[in-house]
């Protein structure tokens, strides 16, 4: 595909991610921190976010699977997930954490499990979207083009 077409697809895709609320201004902030001296910064941070989230989602699954659920522990995990999703601009994931914390406070296992399901879905969605975005970036670079700055 031509560089210009790739770049256009990239910009449109990025726009849609913001419009649909998958990403928020914090993601743009991360992009602004990337430059020639740190060309992979966003990918690196997002990769850390993926690792962190997957660990936390596993921990949450296990914690909610206990006969006596430790809601403080569950809440602590959700708090961490909220923090890291907020730091990378993964808005929908972050927003799922708020009702989740409420369910922890109410010590409602069923509700927590529903929240966990929701977060897992949102996480997988945003992971998929970001990977698509990074793939597009790689294609642009491979075709000799520059990655457009999307404000």
């Amino acid at each position: 595909m031509e560089v210009v077409q790739l770049q256009r697809s990239f910009v449109e895709y990025m726009d849609s991610l913001f419009r649909e609320g998958f990403l928020d201004a914090q993601f743009s902030q991360l992009q602004q921190l990337q430059d020639d001296s740190n060309p992979d910064f966003v990918v690196e941070v997002v990769s850390l976010f993926f690792e962190d989230s997957e660990r936390l989602l596993n921990d949450l699954t296990m914690a909610l699977d206990q006969p006596n659920v430790d809601f403080k522990q569950v809440d602590a995990h959700v708090h961490q997930l909220k923090g890291s999703s907020s730091s990378v601009g993964a808005q929908r994931v972050k927003n799922c954490c708020i009702p989740f914390r409420n369910c922890c406070e109410e010590q409602n296992t069923e509700a927590c499990l529903r929240c966990l399901q929701q977060i897992k879905q949102e996480y997988l969605l945003v992971k998929n979207k970001l990977q698509t975005l990074f793939d597009l970036e790689q294609q642009i670079v491979a075709a000799g083009g520059a990655i457009p700055m999307v404000q």
């Binding site: 991360l30 430059d35 740190n38 850390l48 909220k82 923090g83 907020s86 730091s87 708020i98």
Partner: protein, 193 residues
């Protein structure tokens, strides 16, 4: 001003993602960064944990400690207290970061001697402002002015309403600006609750 001074910042955060971001924010603002994952590690680095201080040499002097509030083991508040209780380190400015805007928490930190309380996610503009403030303080003979600002700030805190999201010793100087930006911040932040 005009001094090509590189600040050395000790960043403390249990989140790997946040450490990476804060490190980049600081480096891009021309600061040297040492990032650690806990209050205990921070104290070790500063030489307060019975270990030999890594700060023996002037070159490694820490100009600012930027710490997360909610950390397992030792909170940012507890770390702040330990630093302010130490004669060797109490002069180092400490800034607390938190994703939660809990006013009693903010008050407690400021009263314990924190320079500022930043709401996460921390932005480049926050870091730049911090750096400028510290640079001014480093070369400044008039430490009394800063102290006065802080005292006025804690008095002001008692009257401040919910519309302020950043609480700094500079609210007094830059209040028209900060209330304008904190209005839009408030709208954005109210979702996070």
């Amino acid at each position: 001003m005009g001094m090509a001074q590189e600040l050395h910042v000790l960043a403390v955060d249990d989140s790997l993602v946040d450490r990476k971001v804060i490190e980049r924010l600081l480096k891009i603002s021309c600061c040297k960064v040492t990032a650690v994952e806990s209050g205990r590690r921070a104290l070790q680095y500063l030489g307060l944990d019975g270990e030999k201080s890594s700060m023996g040499i002037d070159g490694l002097k820490v100009n600012l400690i930027l710490t997360d509030y909610s950390m397992p083991g030792m909170t940012g508040y507890e770390l702040l207290k330990k630093i302010k209780e130490s004669s060797a380190l109490s002069k180092i400015p400490v800034v607390i970061m938190s994703s939660e805007k809990i006013l009693p928490r903010i008050d407690r930190c400021l009263e314990e001697g924190a320079e500022e309380f930043l709401l996460k996610p921390v932005k480049l503009s926050d870091v730049k402002r911090l750096r400028d403030f510290i640079l001014r303080g480093e070369g400044d003979d008039d430490k009394l002015t800063d102290k006065k600002i802080k005292e006025a700030c804690s008095r002001k805190r008692k009257f401040q309403d919910d519309s302020t999201t950043q609480v700094t010793a500079h609210d007094i100087e830059s209040s028209p600006e900060s209330s304008a930006s904190s209005e839009s911040q408030q709208q954005k932040q109210s979702k996070i609750g």
